[in-house]
Chain length 211, copies 2
Amino acid sequence: MSETTGARERRPRTDAQRNRTHILDVAERHFSEHGITGSLDAIAKRAGVGAGTLYRHFPNRDALLAALLRARDEDLMTRRDEIRREEADSAAALAQWLDALGRWATAFDGLPEPLRAALTEDSSPLALTCQGYVTDTDEFLRAAQRDGGARPEVRGRDLFLGVLATAWVRGAAMADESSARALTAMMRSGWAGPARIARTVSDAPHRPDQT
Amino acid sequence: MSETTGARERRPRTDAQRNRTHILDVAERHFSEHGITGSLDAIAKRAGVGAGTLYRHFPNRDALLAALLRARDEDLMTRRDEIRREEADSAAALAQWLDALGRWATAFDGLPEPLRAALTEDSSPLALTCQGYVTDTDEFLRAAQRDGGARPEVRGRDLFLGVLATAWVRGAAMADESSARALTAMMRSGWAGPARIARTVSDAPHRPDQT
DNA sequence: GACCATACGGAGACAGTCTCCGCTTTGCAA
DNA sequence: TTGCAAAGCGGAGACTGTCTCCGTATGGTC
């Protein structure tokens, strides 16, 4: 009676489990070396399984990525709790969380792209992960806002996207590191400290009123 | 002897010219509708020419994009001069220039990607264009910095990449408009006004071994 | 040991990029 | 005009990558 309630999940066959984890191992290496656009069939070949096997386990690239990121989720959650525990200054905590997120989003070359896409098409297997981190960001942010360490008009989603954008700028193989740092710094002045809303050109009347 | 000096350029045949401009017309429409990843062969077909013809005129996607952007270059330069002429406040001028750049970088869905890539691989046909705009940005920026309207540590390249990153966030079909605005605003507080350098987490004395 | 659900492999359909080469068109010169 | 070389054209097809389908193998269970 392995099958109790109606929609019970059956434990997969052992060869299936073995294949799955092996594919993940290989994919991790392959994506690290070739970026997330590396060929899936190549991964299958390298893992010594047929293409069908790969696609049965992971119907598309995003699914595979999501599985790989799930493995890193634990690390990131650990880091999150660590920051919460050890950083008393809520603004500094937010900064550190964003930094951790930034490193997470740079795990593979090209990763920011599907992550951003997942943020607007919630059918993606990555969507849930992203949404979760947006929520976490929001928590850090709200704490900082309560303490007057972050501007009230900023949203967690904005910061998350900002982090992705910065990771995106870094591009392949840490190309534009210095500009990425500059962007992070600029972004920080954008959220840090309680201040009035900075105005955008498109918001402002054409005559900027001399701040 | 039509050939005078060694490396003389021969005026292309009339059918070639006709094809070239027609391909550009079609490509403009096709990229507008399908984003820059739209199939090149489809463009050829839609233009009623063979694939060979398309690839002879534009050896790859970037070359085609570069040609399309060259057509818009004139508009952007006009805008630039207009801003220079009509905006006395140098910081506001910079903001308006960045806004214009942002609209330029959103001409087609997905455009920011090759633009950013061109900034690090200068073999790309887009590289020259980008470099030019970085220079323009630098000029606006330096004027603002002289007037104390922009922080001294910021570079034109950083701002250009920031604009690209914001355009990238907007994603396909203006998806994340509000976040894009938020980012622009944050970025603005990053460059505007002379202030001390904001610190990044990674700059900070971050003891990796257990902060 | 038999049975069958589960999983496997890989051939191949499909789509996109890009090249190659035989044929056509253009423009110049006689 | 006519002839002809250079310039340009078209599209078949090589190549690469994604993803499906189905005949075959295998693990787990009774």
